[in-house]
């Protein structure tokens, strides 16, 4: 199981703040592609991704048990 966390407008677009997918392993890029097939999340190509609270690249591996968060441009402060 991979847990996906959504924030800000991504959360509003999907209508929930987390998605669980029964997947063993894939890359960040593959995960984004999979999600776009189910949800209207075109901007996933352009947001940052964190795996287990660390920024990750599109070719990073995601394995069952990992928490993936999509990080739209931040606006704290």
């Amino acid at each position: 199981m991979i847990t996906i966390l959504l924030f800000a407008h991504l959360q509003e677009t999907v209508g929930k703040d987390r998605i669980e997918l029964p997947i063993e392993q894939l890359t960040v890029m593959e995960l984004k592609t999979a999600l776009k097939q189910t949800y209207p999340l075109l901007e996933l190509d352009h947001v940052m991704t964190a795996v287990n609270e660390e920024f990750a690249r599109d070719n990073s591996k995601v394995t069952a048990g990992d928490i993936v968060a999509f990080i739209p441009p931040v606006s704290g402060g």
Partner: protein, 156 residues
């Protein structure tokens, strides 16, 4: 508030508490930055703001900023607290305190911290304007998105 130097909180921020965390007998200068909710932005009126954070990662990233500052300005000590949830006009969203033996480093490290917060800390704000609402998406706050969604852009 606790004694942690890097915090995401839901209650109002007490600036004196943040200052206390960085006070040291060898430090003669303390700078603080207080980011408050501004009512007017380029002629648009804000009614209130809503901040959301990916809390555990946000705390980690605040601590990472602290590490970066420790490398660049070795004699400083920094504390950062960011509030989330609903904030009304003039309420404090973020407070940064830096103590240092000498003032130059205290100013520089403080300004560096707020710049980095706007780059790497997963916190988002939603403006509730008098005429609608918008998730603000540009890290440097220069370009609020016109619609409810950001223009796509590659941030990597």
């Amino acid at each position: 508030m606790s004694n942690n130097l890097f915090e995401i909180v839901e209650e109002p921020i007490e600036i004196n508490a943040i200052i206390k965390k960085v006070e040291r007998r060898e430090a003669g200068a303390i700078t603080t930055f207080i980011g408050t909710v501004r009512e007017w932005t380029r002629g648009k009126q804000t009614i209130y703001l809503e901040y959301q954070a990916y809390i555990p990662m946000a705390v980690k990233m605040l601590a990472k900023i602290g590490e970066e500052i420790g490398e660049k300005w070795p004699d400083t000590k920094i504390g950062i607290t960011h509030r989330i949830g609903r904030l009304d006009i003039s309420e404090i969203a973020v407070a940064i305190a830096v103590s240092s033996p000498h003032r130059k480093a205290a100013y520089e490290a403080n300004e560096y911290a707020i710049e980095r917060i706007k780059q790497i800390v997963p916190i988002w704000k939603k403006e509730h304007w008098s005429d609608g609402e918008t998730w603000i998406g540009d890290q440097l706050e220069n370009v609020p998105y016109e619609s409810g969604r950001p223009n796509v852009k590659d941030v990597e």
